[in-house]
């Protein structure tokens, strides 16, 4: 019956033909046997993970190759993502799911198992835009924007980075000047995920009237806000990325915001999701490599029987398990309100570098087939190059940890 069901049920829960794995007789499952961590997770956490995994497998995975090739996100899937409750899933109220950090992390993992562009869109929408409005907005502003953002009726982007101010956001040049009830914003923002499809932007700018103090504003699409798509990306191709020009753009101040730390608070939230997320990409690459080894014949035997291949698989498995357990530990700390920014830096740096290595190894293990986009691994590898750099580069996080360990800042 089980094999019959697998064969017959071509609807939502079956993998596409490209995903059908050939299993070796005595093979152990990475999650089930090696990680064996179901007992560490609460029922709603595994339920959330499984719900998102099922949706990604059935609805997103069949679309990603084409989306990646064309450099266009399948926007018709946004209402389904919203229905699933992915946007702002860790927030309380306003129609949001109010999930634990671990549940939210598992959701990010499953999204990124699909593609980093999918997880990036959701990270920006939830952890950056909705989090900023939730934390710093007035009650009216929260009512006005959060339910619509949760329902995917509005898409948001987070405009902090500028072309000359990335790792050093304090060097930003965008300004805001008081004009009656609102503010007029001037400047440019670069590398902004979601900008080309966004209805509103959370913009960070230096307020002239406050001695250049950085504050957050919501600028809705309209006069004064111009977006240009970033062309020629070889990474996160399915993620819409844009540069923003602000010329006398009207913005509403988020009153609770004050200083760069407001932006950093949002980024810390997003970084946690990213650290979980990349392990999803790593797991997808691992499974692709394992499956390839099972059916690729080399010198008369499966590639999976070769020593070097097995050694690489073992290293990948170790890397994934380490990343998962780090994520679980820090996720639980976060829910206790005890997670520090230094821990987040260590977490993000470790997991992204680990996933990038797994993807790179998987690419090599698939041989020539590893350069073909339908075989997934190189797409993940290309994406992880961006994730290595954004939300705090690997180097910057190293310095953040180094500063904490030594008490000496190597930044300036």
């Amino acid at each position: 019956m089980r094999s019959f069901l697998l064969a017959l049920r071509t609807s939502r829960r079956c993998y596409s033909a490209a995903h059908k794995a050939i299993k070796l007789a005595q093979q152990q499952d990475l999650e089930q046997d090696i990680l064996a961590w179901e007992s560490l997770l609460a029922p709603e956490e595994t339920a959330a993970r499984d719900a998102v995994r099922a949706w990604v497998d059935a609805r997103f995975a069949p679309r990603i190759t084409e989306a990646h090739r064309r450099g266009a996100f399948p926007r018709d899937l946004i209402p389904e993502l919203a229905e699933l409750g992915v946007f702002g899933a860790s927030l309380q109220g306003y129609g949001c799911a109010g999930m634990s950090s671990v549940a939210y992390g598992l959701v990010m993992q499953e999204l990124e198992r699909g593609d980093s562009a999918l997880r990036s869109l959701c990270s920006v929408q939830g952890s950056l835009v909705m989090h900023a409005i939730h934390a710093f907005g007035s009650p009216e502003q929260r009512e006005r924007w959060l339910p619509a953002l949760a329902q995917g009726k509005l898409i948001g982007c987070f405009a902090l980075t500028e072309s000359s101010a990335g790792s050093d956001p304090a060097a930003m040049a965008a300004t805001a000047r008081r004009d009656g009830d609102a503010y007029m914003l001037e400047g440019e923002k670069a590398w902004i995920t979601n900008a080309p499809i966004a209805d509103l932007a959370v913009v960070f700018a230096k307020v002239a009237d406050e001695d250049g103090r950085v504050r957050a504003f919501v600028v809705e699409r309209g006069p004064g806000l111009e977006v240009h798509s970033v062309e020629g990306k070889l990474s996160l191709r399915a993620s819409p990325t844009g540069n923003i020009l602000l010329a006398a753009a009207r913005g509403a101040l988020l009153p609770g915001s004050g200083g760069l730390k407001s932006a950093l608070q949002c980024l810390t939230q997003a970084r946690e999701g990213i650290a979980w997320g990349v392990t999803g990409a790593a797991m997808d690459c691992f499974e692709a490599a394992l499956d390839y080894g099972a059916h690729r014949q080399v010198f008369g035997r499966p590639l999976a029987s070769r020593q070097l291949f097995q050694e690489r698989l073992a290293t990948m498995a170790q890397s994934i398990v380490t990343s998962q357990l780090m994520s679980l530990h820090f996720g639980r700390l976060k829910d206790q309100g005890r997670l520090t920014p230094v821990q987040v830096s260590l977490h993000k740096r470790h997991n992204v570098a680990a996933a990038r290595r797994v993807a790179s190894d998987a690419r090599a293990m698939l041989g020539a087939n590893g350069i073909i986009d339908t075989n997934k691994v190189m797409r993940h590898l290309m994406n992880l190059e961006s994730v290595y750099t954004y939300e705090g580069t690997d180097d910057v996080h190293a310095l953040a940890v180094g500063r904490a360990l030594t008490g000496i800042s190597a930044f300036s």
């Binding site: 939502r12 829960r13 089930q32 029922p43 719900a51 229905e83």
Partner: protein, 252 residues
């Protein structure tokens, strides 16, 4: 209708890889991913749709089994059931024992409709729904591919998938209906509903509280893996094919 009851079973996930125990006494389920039986999911989805059409006031999900089966009840609640009933037992479950427990619940809670999956993907028995109807003396429609209820008339019209095609029955309520694959496509549990499900009530009881026991009436003698697939054989002609089918495979 006031109430629809849906039975859901905790089974090995249809995608999980399983191994037969070394002593051939059963399947090794330690660390294996467990899920709601797919046909139970379909039955539950049908019940939730009836509620959305305002044909029933409430949907109650019931499961029988180990403590961990509560996860499947929470999934049912996340999909839209209003409350759950968990009959706790560590005993091995057989269709007759399950049917007797469900019958006791049906007599206690008086649903207008009792929905089940046509079979569970572990046992593949396809017994429980039929036995339940028999024990209650209720009409039954199994392998349902379409269910319509008329609460005013007190009937259900069910299309069944049978070997000869489609058969349509009208049953007087209360009735037992078991779901087949094409009845519907179950919804995804959404994240907000997964969280809301934590607050929906689950009633826990023992088989004894229903006046029942869970006896072992069947003995599993042996569980084996199916024989390994052998390679195919090329034949030179139709005559040779017929000859081999008759003399070697002995199927003609």
């Amino acid at each position: 209708m006031k109430r629809v009851l849906v039975a859901v079973k905790r089974v090995v996930d249809y995608n999980a890889r399983i191994r037969v125990k070394a002593d051939k006494s059963g399947i090794d389920v330690a660390n294996v991913k467990m899920s709601m039986n797919p046909f139970c999911e379909i039955a539950l989805e049908e019940a939730v749709r009836l509620k959305e059409k305002k044909l029933t006031e409430e949907v109650v999900a019931v499961t029988i089994g180990v403590k961990a089966a509560q996860d499947q009840l929470r999934t049912a609640l996340a999909m839209g059931a209003d409350r759950g009933i968990h009959v706790l037992t560590d005993a091995e479950l057989e269709p007759l024992a399950v049917a007797r427990l469900l019958a006791a619940l049906a007599q206690r809670d008086e649903p207008a409709l009792f929905l089940l999956g046509k079979q569970a993907i572990d046992g593949d028995n396809n017994h429980t729904g039929q036995m339940l109807a028999g024990l209650l003396g209720w009409p039954q429609a199994t392998f349902a591919s379409k269910v319509e209820t008329d609460p005013v008339a007190g009937t259900a019209t069910v299309t069944r998938e049978v070997d000869g095609g489609l058969q349509t029955l009208r049953l007087r309520l209360p009735a037992v209906v078991t779901s087949d694959l094409r009845l519907n496509e179950p919804r995804y549990a959404t994240l907000p509903n997964i969280m809301k499900a934590k607050r929906k009530p689950i009633e826990q009881l023992s088989p004894e509280a229903l006046g029942m026991d869970v006896p072992k009436r069947l003995e599993i003698l042996r569980v084996e893996e199916p024989p390994k697939r052998k390679g195919g054989v090329r034949v030179a002609s139709v005559a040779e094919l017929v000859d081999r089918l008759h003399n070697e495979a002995k199927v003609l």
